[in-house]
């Protein structure tokens, strides 16, 4: 072919020359700018979405509440209640509640043994009876204070307006209550921790070991390819399906084990922390395996060869080189799986998270609730104050997840090695 071409001749077709070069470059640059603008606007849309999310949550979490009491505390005593002695407080309590109720409190815990704070709390609950009659959003509270004051004066003449943070220490430590202002996520946080602990105890070792086997030992045969495909697909299965699996297997079929009946626990069914943890472990296991495999695959082949070249066995190579070098990646993936499990709601609804648990779990055979379930429950309740505590619970969940992800990044940087 080359023999038919004259090397001195210019090829046909057109390559820009002279002023055309600049026009051509300008056109190419413009195209680049348009794409850059597109990329940037996507970023802006993302940031806007995030901003809106945060705004609505924070807007609901803080703001004015109108508090109404049955009795003005000043009518009970001419001094502030907190300054009174325990005996004086007991007298106030006796004077303002029925004799039967007073005897019941005494039976529950004799007044002689109660602390002053405990008596004060009884007075606040039973005598003063603080009740939130209206709540307002943060923006309203900041910008339209006068209108709020007018509304409250008109509709609840006896109510007092005060600024309230729905997210506070009591909220973090108290259990669920049917009264929004008394409700907290304490037992939901604890429930989440229990479930995550069981999930991780099971999913982390199985995931890592499975990943090592598939990556280092399994040969490239059709059945291992089938297993691989399966694992990859399982990672994409909707979580509710895992919930149904958990319900069928752990809650129903294995009830004697998961309810603790086999271990002598009597007052429980299969809808326990253990069932939830097992279900979540199944859910994150494919993620763990995929992630461990990727981390292992990222270990350079040259390190393995160096190890084998010195007479190391496969196990020594895996133990001394592959696993330590894959560790940062595995850790990152573990924490990301953990945050996935932490935020999952659907499977736990199916497995039977209880939405109204007022006690704190103290064994794996207890009924449980977790933060996302609590949020789900509160958002579906009538009454605007449930929205406020739902927003506060969302902040708790988001902060927890952010902390987990930050830990993942820190750990990865700490264990990172250079080759």
């Amino acid at each position: 072919m080359s023999t038919t071409l004259n090397p001195g001749e210019r090829p046909t077709g057109y390559l820009p020359e002279g002023a055309d070069i600049n026009r051509n470059i300008a056109a190419r640059r413009l195209r680049g700018k348009i794409w850059q603008a597109l990329f940037f606007s996507s970023l802006v849309i993302g940031l806007l979405a995030l901003g809106t999310l945060l705004y609505t949550i924070i807007d609901d979490s803080f703001g004015y509440i109108a508090v109404q009491t049955k009795i003005d505390p000043e009518e009970l005593s001419d001094r502030p209640l907190a300054e009174l002695s325990k005996e004086e407080l007991i007298e106030i309590l006796r004077a303002n509640i029925s004799a039967g109720l007073f005897r019941r409190f005494d039976r529950d815990e004799p007044f002689s043994e109660r602390s002053k704070e405990s008596v004060l709390q009884l007075i606040e609950e039973r005598v003063i009876g603080r009740e939130v009659v209206a709540s307002f959003k943060l923006t309203e509270s900041l910008l339209e204070r006068e209108r709020i004051e007018a509304t409250v004066r008109e509709r609840f003449p006896r109510a007092r307006l005060e600024f309230h943070s729905w997210l506070n220490r009591d909220f973090l430590t108290r259990p669920m209550s049917s009264v929004p202002i008394l409700a907290g996520v304490g037992n939901a946080i604890l429930g989440s921790l229990w479930v995550i602990a069981i999930t991780m105890i099971l999913a982390v070792p199985i995931g890592i070991l499975g990943g090592v086997y598939l990556e280092e030992y399994a040969s490239d045969t059709w059945y291992y390819r089938l297993i691989e495909t399966n694992i990859n697909n399982l990672a994409g299965v909707p979580s509710i399906i895992y919930g149904i699996l958990g319900l069928a297997v752990f809650v129903r079929a294995l009830e004697p084990l998961t309810s603790g009946a086999a271990f002598g626990v009597t007052d429980s069914n299969g809808r326990t922390i253990l069932s939830a943890g097992l279900t979540m472990a199944l859910l994150v296991l494919p993620l763990m395996i995929i992630n461990a495999r990727e981390a292992i695959r990222a270990v350079p082949q040259s390190i393995r060869q160096a190890s084998y070249g010195l007479g190391a066995t496969k196990w020594q190579t895996v133990w001394h080189h592959v696993l330590p070098n894959a560790l940062p990646g595995i850790l990152t993936g573990t924490i990301l799986s953990m945050s996935r499990a932490m935020g999952e709601t659907a499977p736990l609804i199916v497995v039977g998270a209880s939405t109204f648990v007022v006690f704190f779990p103290d064994s794996v055979f207890d009924k449980f609730t977790v933060i996302p379930i609590q949020i789900y429950n509160w958002t579906s309740q009538p009454g605007s104050q449930f929205r406020n505590i739902a927003a506060a619970a969302i902040i708790v969940l988001l902060v927890t997840l952010l902390l987990l992800n930050a830990t993942a990044i820190l750990l990865r940087n700490r264990f990172k090695r250079s080759y």
């Binding site: 084998y308 007479g311 080759y419």
Partner: protein
């Protein structure tokens, strides 16, 4: 085959001339024959260079000698490779044992992301080394001195080996190979990633090591082959893309009066 058995064979063949012998070796990757019918004998305590154009199978042959090819799925070998008269591909031979006795240095320096000290001690430790701290220190020093890098690193033994320069890393890798006391050291283009000064140091080191070890080196650099090696094997790909041995003999003869026309063409730079 245990170390003891190998050593017993060693005693019997102490005066044997050849460290490694290949007899009618064919190497396959799946159904593809990468190397066809190679027979050659590697002399003890000499440097043997494998040269040839890319894809001619010289690296494959080198890696067959310490069974590194076993790590590639689907690879297979026909024929025999004798080490102390024992076929290392016999079913009763453990490749781990072979690799301890026949060390390897790779194209790209690949120190472990550990300290220099741990890089050296890794081989002995995994091979069941026992000894005091002082003995370990001595072993490390000996290996590093053997690889002519002791003076450069003696003050930073506990710093990562990956922080060294490329040439130093490669000598560290040689020291690491020496630490398990092999008899044969295979070098797969050990200088291709290094600058000329580092290359010179490695070449000097090879000539030094020749006194105690048998060295087989794959190189693309013909000057290097002619500078350091005692024997040269020239490989070439045939029409089926399978590598084969064209000519093998003393380096001087290969470079001055080769028997084969193809060798002469390659040596004189007419192709390749």
């Amino acid at each position: 085959m245990t170390v003891a058995e190998l050593s017993a064979v060693d005693m019997a063949q102490a005066n044997g001339r050849y460290a490694v012998e290949l007899h009618n070796t064919h190497i396959y990757y799946g159904s593809f024959r990468a190397v066809k019918d190679v027979s050659l004998q590697i002399e003890r305590q000499r440097i043997t260079a494998f040269i040839g154009p890319s894809g001619c199978g010289k690296s494959t042959v080198l890696r067959a000698i310490n069974r590194m090819n076993d790590l590639i799925p689907g690879s297979r070998l026909e024929g025999r490779i004798l080490f102390h008269g024992k076929n290392i591909y016999d079913p009763d031979v453990d490749p781990v044992e072979v690799r301890r006795r026949i060390g390897m240095v790779f194209q790209k320096p690949n120190p472990f992301p550990k300290s220099i000290y741990d890089n050296i001690m890794f081989g002995p430790r995994i091979n069941g080394w026992r000894g005091t701290k002082a003995q370990a220190d001595e072993l490390v020093e000996r290996a590093l001195r053997g690889a002519a890098i002791w003076d450069e690193v003696k003050d930073k033994l506990h710093q990562p080996g990956t922080a060294l320069s490329g040439g130093q890393q490669q000598r560290l890798c040689i020291a690491r190979a020496l630490a398990v006391q092999p008899e044969v050291i295979l070098m797969d283009e050990p200088c291709s990633a290094l600058d000329p000064i580092s290359t010179l140091k490695i070449e000097e080191l090879m000539l030094e090591l020749r006194r105690n070890y048998t060295i087989i080196i794959v190189t693309h650099n013909m000057q290097q082959a002619s500078r350091v090696s005692d024997y040269t094997a020239f490989f070439l790909m045939d029409a089926d893309r399978a590598g084969q041995l064209v000519e093998y003999g003393p380096t001087e003869q290969i470079f001055t009066s080769p028997n084969d026309k193809r060798t002469e063409d390659y040596i004189s730079g007419r192709f390749g």
